[in-house]
Symmetry: C2
Subunit: 167 residues, 2 copies
DNA sequence: CGACAATTGTTGTCGTCAACAACAATCTTT
DNA sequence: AAAGATTGTTGTTGACGACAACAATTGTCG
């Protein structure tokens, strides 16, 4: 799909007229050498792909991966404080404020002032939020099938197993 | 290490005196439910961990993952244009401009005006850049050993194999 | 009990990063 | 030669992580 480099790109010091030198730089043929074999690079590229597919698949309902994770955790654990959600998801509490502002504005989440600890808020899904989350989960499952189609069913399971420690 | 939630956090509508309900919300014990089983979530958490370790391991030389990937590709393919590097790494050419500005300022990279195509620049490592990259590669290898220690040698290899398609 | 420390939610700043849009200079195509 | 495409550049926007500071509230400890 990306048809960018369809001719030689660099001005090689060697003779450029020959066909041998040109083929080397043909699109997608640039050597990565040391980069291959780096787990971080492969994981980064894969993470970009998987997030883009998630965003695309859930594009119709305008839900991003982080929003989805927040809704899921609140749905599974009603009454959590913002700190609890932030810690669980590895999000900063400062950032969660804006996420919840948005989700509350869209009537998916309620902040209820806790009476046990008047500093904190108990987070709950609204009725609207529950039905919406159910729909999001169906779309997320569809996204997950895209992942399966991309790397294979057994590879996906193996990968989940390898990375289970990062929950 | 993070001892944040050491008591119940939410004001559960159910009776709160019992021990059963309280244990459920104990630190790090919050259910993720549907989130587990999502490849994207596990990959995101892992990617964050791996990048932080990379940044920490290469912290002494002040090289971030993206900078490392740029240097590696240029080192392996001298004379590439900015577009070629950007396409190969999945970076936007607009973003690569700043990356190269920084690397050129630190005398690791040279932009040489191409005579074949006067719009483009041929990218090369300086002599200083070559010796520096050799050092970076040693540190990157050390980082890779951290990954092995984290997920296991055979798991790392399997993971690289699974994600090989994302180069 | 009362001073002091810690926690929670909030606001703000800073830097990284992806996605676009616009532009001048320079090819390529026709 | 004119029209279109490409390259490098600058700029904007928005998501995101890392910090710092603050008021309100709670916990601790002398």
């Amino acid at each position: 799909m990306d048809r960018a480099i369809h001719r030689e790109t660099g001005s090689l010091p060697r003779k450029r007229a020959g066909n041998g030198a040109a083929r080397r730089n043909d699109a997608d043929q640039i050597g990565l050498d040391a980069l291959v074999g780096h787990a971080g690079y492969a994981v980064r590229r894969f993470q970009i792909w998987i997030f883009q597919d998630f965003i695309k698949t859930l594009g119709g309902v305008d839900i991003r991966p982080t929003q989805y994770s927040v809704l899921t955790v609140i749905g599974a654990n009603p009454g959590l404080s913002q700190m609890a959600v932030a810690n669980r998801l590895g999000i900063e509490r400062a950032r969660l404020v804006h996420l919840l502002d948005s989700l509350e504005q869209r009537k998916y989440v309620k902040r209820i002032k806790s009476k046990a600890d008047r500093r904190s808020h108990a987070l709950h899904l609204t009725a609207q939020g529950e039905t919406a989350l159910a729909k999001f989960k169906r779309l997320a499952a569809e996204h997950e099938r895209h992942v399966e189609a991309k790397i294979g069913k057994e590879n996906r399971e193996r990968l989940l197993q390898i990375l289970a420690g990062f929950t």
